[in-house]
Amino acid sequence: MERIKEIRSRTVVLPNDDIDTDQIIPARFLTTTTKQGLGKNLFNDWRYGKDGSERPEFVLNKPESRGAAVLVAGNNFGCGSSREHAPWALLDFGIRAVVSTEIADIFRSNSLKNGLLPVIVDAETHRWLLQHPGADVRVDLDTTTLEAGGKRVQFPIDRFSRYCLMNGVDQLGFLLERSDAIARYEQAHA
């Protein structure tokens, strides 16, 4: 996995609360057997009209949103299903960090395993970000801070996940190194 230290980008803002994984990537695109290529269907039913053309009023379709790597979303982002296709689709589209006041558990866990940074901020910072779409922000994983509008705020992240992201370490390797302990557990509980 690619190492992450910092992300500098403009933001794109989706202010809706409770954006669920069915909006991020609708279920009919889950018949795929790979991780690639899901970006074109990210927010599919918000992004495209019935005839398949882009809806110009949807924020991701606006010229100023192109290339933005930080998504600022309403409260409780990523609720709903466990589909890892949601972070895969966001990453494939080019999003590298999601900022909200609350991010659903399974989505957050899936994101951390794929190099998509879940950034949880306080209500005041969140409000500022929602009010300033396109703001330049810097997410620094080393200091676990987000810098926006001349202010710097800390965000919480599990130390192990941070270590893995910064060093490009795959969590499966860590588990495989514990094979002896797992075998001992299995023997004791056989």
């Binding site: 609360d17 069915d22 795929t32 409260n75 466990s82 899936n110 192990f160 588990l175 302990a181």
Partner: protein
Amino acid sequence: MQSLCEKIWAAHVVAPETDDTPAVLYVDLHLLHEVTTPQAFDLLRAEGLPVRRPDRCLATLDHSTPTVPVKTLKDLEIVSEPSAARQVRQMERNCKDFGIELRGFASRDRGIVHVMGPELGATQPGATIVCGDSHTSTHGAFGALAFGIGTTEVGHVLATQCLLQRKPKTLAINLAGKLPTEVTAKDLILKIIGTIGVGGGTGHVIEYRGSAIGALSMEERMTVCNMSIEAGARAGMIAPDDTTYEFMAGRPLAPQGAAWDAALKRWRTLPSDAGAKFDKEISIDVSKMKPMVTFGTNPGMVMPIDGTVPTDGDPAFRKALAYMQVEAGKPMLGVPVDVVFIGSCTNGRLSDIRQAARILRGRRVAERVRLLVVPGSEDVKRQAEAEGLDEVVRAAGGEWREPGCSMCIGMNGDTVPSGKLSVSTSNRNFEGRQGTGARTVLASPLTAAAAAVTGAIADPRELMG
């Protein structure tokens, strides 16, 4: 003094958590289906890793499978979208290559993974159970710690039978009082989600407690635990009791003989100790409850069936009402219905179909309403047919289908057309969940059946003798 959740956690720690590293947690049962596993098997192939414990895997086909009869993979090519058919074939191949028994089209056991596990007795008190599916919380009804995981973690469990986890916080929900007759477990969980909100359980494992929970059957408890994730909680659980053990006794994968007696002794120590501390605790009195329906685009937007749609100036709230084509201040009763879906891991069990049949018997589905009844498993289908419930559905003008996730997820050929309103016994009323532009009202099997025969949202209590 420990809670049920803490006891199960402690018994499964292979390596304890530290500030720097999460715990290594052992998984007793890994449920697998075709949608969230292909990329995990690919990873194993790429790394040259075997599945550590194929004997701890329980695999089936449910999400992308059609609900018209399919006996062979050849049939599948005819009825399914090519990508869905490919996914099913891939699952067959992955299970074969890695030595996992697949309960596929030829199996008498096949069913929605969360219906099948308990039915076979694979779901057991005190166990850790995971699946690449958020409704894994269902299995918590047996006093198991059961939660949904992503595909990367599916790969971790396949390779090591373990997960890296931080110990979750606990939330006790005390349900006091007695549920009124004709108010179901589905109404109860909708009420709970409406009370704590769709993010109210985030970061927590819920333990449902109290007299109203003790009085529920196992199938009802599964309905409650199933939708814990709709309140943001990865897991919901209920302490095992005699109702649990009666349900489990004699099931094929449950312990037998002396092993059963030993297990029973162990299981009886699982309930939370008196005085166990929870990180959060709330109480709800259920004795005045009514049947519930959703009016918006998440399961927390819910109201008593005879109430009026709430008013809220929030733009997102108004957007949800606009999508649903319902008006603030107006009743949901009488709103015309196009499709009724009875099934899913929430309400696709025998007791759910019996409930629906109570309303359907001797009545006809309203003109221009499509009623789809989808048993949760082959076993549910066999039992329902033995009771003649399939005939009740057909005589009413409904469709009696093959087991699967069907219209709950709309990725298998069963969808609600754009703009149409569906009353559904499933778990999610998100925009487009049942098909692009589909409008979903979540309700119990009784309320769904009442909608089918009247052609509009109706109070089932008025149709019951």
